[in-house]
Amino acid sequence: MTSQAEEGGKAWIEPMVRQLARPAFQLAMGLVRDREAAEDIVQEAFLRAMQNRRTPHIAEEFRLWLYRVIVNLVRDHQRRRARERRPTLWVTPSTDPAIEAERLIGDQRLAEAIQRLTQREREAIQLRFGEDASYGDTARIMGTRESTARVLVHRALDKLRASLSSQELEEGWRIST
C-alpha cells in the first residue's frame, strides 16, 4: 500500500507549485542572496515535499512545511558557502534598472545593517516582516519556540536601531516612502 505522496500521479503537488513557487523563491532569495542558489533550494524543497510521505497536503500546512525546508536548506547552503569562503553577495542586481535604482536610493544603509545580523536573526526578520508571518508561524518555520522567535526579532530590531542613528532613520524613511 502506498501513501498519498507516493502515488504515481502526484497530482496534489500541482496546485502547490502553482500557488507557492514564486513566494517560495522570494523567501529563498531573501535569505540566500543568490539567484541560482535560490532556484536550486526551491527545487530541492519541492522535491523533498513530493517524496516525503509525511508532507502535509493541506495548503496552509504545506506552506509552513515547505518554508521550513527552505530555511533548513538555506542554512546548509550558508554553511557550505562559509566553508568555501565565498564572498556574500548582498546587493543582487535587478533586471529592471528603475527598481534597482529605487532600491539603492531607498535604504541601502538598512540593507547593510540587516546583512550584519546573524543568520537566525535575518531569518526571523525575513519571516516576521517579509512574509508577515505570526510569531507562532515564524517559530514553526524556524524550528524553534515562539518565545525564541520573539527574542530573535526584538534583538534584531535593537541591532538595526543601534546601527542607524535617529537622523538616518528619519531621512531614510522619508526617502523610501
Binding site: 523563491f25 532556484e39 533586471t95 523610501s176
Partner: protein, 271 residues
C-alpha cells in the same frame, strides 16, 4: 519601534520586487518533479526483478527436486506424478517474469534523449502547430509571464526520440507543455500538444499517465492496429510508460509496463 518595523517591511518588500522569479519557474519545477519520479520507478522495477529472480530460483529448485525424484526407482505401490517440470514450464503464459509483455517488434528502438540537431528540427516543425492549437503566440524574445501567455521552448531544450516519433518540452505561462511529433522521409510533423502542471495529463517515457477513453482502450503486443490485442484498459487506469513514442499506422504508440502498446490518443487528456 513601529517606524523601524515599517522601514524594515518596506525594505524587504523592495527586495522581493527586485528578486523577480524566473518567468518559467513553475514549468522548471514541474519538469524537475516529473524527472524525479523516474529513479523511484526504477527502484520499483529493481524490486520486481529481484522478486522474479527469486521465483525463478524457487521454480528451478522444485524442478530439480522433481527430476531427482523421477531418477530414483519408484518404491512399490507409490506412484510418481506424471507432469514433468518442463511441461509445467511450457504451460506458463507468455507474460515474462517481470510482468511485461514480450515485445515481438524488433524494429522498436529504446527511447533516448534527442540530439541538438534533432531538437532544432523538432522545435521548428512542432512550434507553429502547438501555438495554433493552444491559441497563443510565440514568445519571441520575451518569456511567459503574467499578462504574457505565450509559447516558449525552455533552454536548454529537452526532447526524447522514440521510433520515427518524438516529443519535446515547451512552456506557456504557468505550465509545462509536451509537443508530440512523428518523423518520415519528409522530416518531422506535428501531431499535438498538451500543457499541464503535473504528470498524468500527457504521456512521457518513464512517467505514469492515465487512460482517457469511453469504454476501454486496447493494448497490443506491438505498435500497430493489426497487432494482437493484449488487454483492454478502462478509463482512468493509471499506467507506467516504459517506451515510445513509436509511429505506426498513422498513430503514435506508447509501451505500457505490463500491458503492451497503446495508441497515443488514449493517453492524452482531452484538449
Amino acid at each position: 519601534m513601529n517606524a523601524l518595523e515599517d522601514r524594515v517591511r518596506a525594505q524587504l518588500l523592495a527586495e522581493r520586487q527586485a528578486a523577480a522569479p524566473p518567468p518559467d519557474l513553475e514549468a522548471q519545477l514541474l519538469y524537475a518533479l516529473h524527472r524525479s519520479e523516474v529513479p523511484a520507478r526504477r527502484a520499483g522495477i529493481f524490486r520486481q526483478v529481484v522478486l522474479a529472480a527469486a521465483v525463478v530460483g524457487f521454480a528451478s529448485l522444485v524442478a530439480f527436486g522433481f527430476s531427482r525424484l523421477q531418477s530414483r526407482p519408484a518404491p512399490a505401490g507409490h506412484a510418481i506424478p506424471t507432469a514433468s517440470a518442463s511441461e509445467s514450464a511450457s504451460a506458463t503464459p507468455t507474460v515474462s517474469a517481470s510482468g511485461s509483455v514480450s515485445p515481438s517488434a524488433t524494429a522498436i528502438a529504446a527511447a533516448r534523449p534527442a540530439t541538438a540537431d534533432e531538437l532544432t528540427a523538432m522545435v521548428g516543425a512542432g512550434k507553429p502547430g502547438a501555438e495554433r492549437d493552444l491559441g497563443i503566440r510565440d514568445c519571441g524574445s520575451s518569456q511567459p509571464a503574467p499578462g504574457n501567455d505565450c509559447f516558449a521552448v525552455p533552454s536548454p531544450q529537452r526532447g526524447t526520440i522514440g521510433t520515427e516519433a518524438g516529443y519535446f518540452l515547451g512552456a506557456r505561462f504557468g505550465s509545462g507543455c509536451w509537443v508530440y511529433l512523428y518523423h518520415d522521409s519528409g522530416g518531422w510533423h506535428y501531431v499535438n500538444v498538451r500543457c499541464g502542471q503535473a504528470t498524468g495529463y500527457a504521456p512521457t517515457v518513464g512517467a505514469d499517465d492515465q487512460v482517457y477513453v469511453t469504454g476501454c482502450a486496447n493494448t497490443r503486443t506491438t505498435p500497430g492496429l493489426g497487432s494482437p490485442v493484449v488487454d483492454c484498459l478502462p478509463n482512468g487506469t493509471v499506467v507506467h510508460l516504459t517506451n515510445g513514442p513509436a509511429y505506426s499506422d498513422g498513430k503514435l504508440w506508447w509501451r505500457l509496463q505490463g500491458h503492451g502498446w497503446m495508441a497515443h490518443d488514449f493517453l492524452i487528456s482531452p484538449a
